[in-house]
Symmetry: C2
Subunit: 159 residues, 2 copies
Amino acid sequence: MNRAHQLREVFAECGISAALECVGERWSFLILRGAFNGLRHFEEFQSNLGIARNILSNRLGRLVEHGILQRDPDPADRRKVTYRLTDKGRDLLPVLLSLRQWGERWVSGHPSNPVLVDRYSRRPIAPITVRSAEGRPLSLGEMEWVDRNEIDAADVDAA
Amino acid sequence: MNRAHQLREVFAECGISAALECVGERWSFLILRGAFNGLRHFEEFQSNLGIARNILSNRLGRLVEHGILQRDPDPADRRKVTYRLTDKGRDLLPVLLSLRQWGERWVSGHPSNPVLVDRYSRRPIAPITVRSAEGRPLSLGEMEWVDRNEIDAADVDAA
DNA sequence: CTATTAAGTTGCAATACGCAACCTATACGG
DNA sequence: CCGTATAGGTTGCGTATTGCAACTTAATAG
């Protein structure tokens, strides 16, 4: 197995490809942002995001299939359906926030609204950073890519 | 201005929309992953990622337009062109890593290769988390969305 | 019992994506 | 020099995805 073949396998089974299978489509992140901001119903997503109804329908269905949203008919009003984040969906928050912070810093140039704050201190959350196992923020120069076979197995699975 | 209108504006000028304008297309994240892993040349991206040549050409061009990659002809061999990450591009690392960690945890089920380690301790980086301004990891229940006008301006811009 | 709301579906046009073949400008070997 | 290989694309063409507007179906509200 040559180097090129190895790398191709590496990319195919990469966590990023896997994640993009679920949330890589155009509107997925914006729908998720809506969900994190409290949107629950089809019409709310549609009117707030301005997304086409057929696309929204398709995306909600796909997010449900992937276990990122859960779809519950409202027992009190049987026309209504509630979409809410599962644990798997809630765990996408760091992705959403790091993407948002990058967009604010490098594209739009200003913080957007609403702001996510620490409930107790009322201060906005910190910029999301890469940290060492001990919690020290790392710059790119302090990191290195290594083959996982060269690392202690317990460490790899922890990461 | 009613609530619906307000929210729509909020979404339109959101940092996430802004970010997705630059990196929201199908292959962008995988190309960036390649760049972080040391890919530099057109043929390297093409053969390692298995992406169609015209799409790759288009994506590289767009990433260069957005200032995420920089394109330099090689003076030693004028057939060759080098694509490398700019500061703006390098700053996408937290997005890539959080996406990857999510994919490994919830989809593929295992860490992928290669692994990013702290150069000195040789241990893999920590999972990316949301933290308070003081650096304390926060769970979703400890956070709250608030309108930015209700927050001290210095704090907002820091975030 | 009529009007309205919620959550979709359908038909059709515009865009983006993907594959294979082709092209252009170097560089390399003899 | 001169044929051949390499790097980085472009072109043509078919398929898949996206987007808009109109329509549907079921349930509730007045």
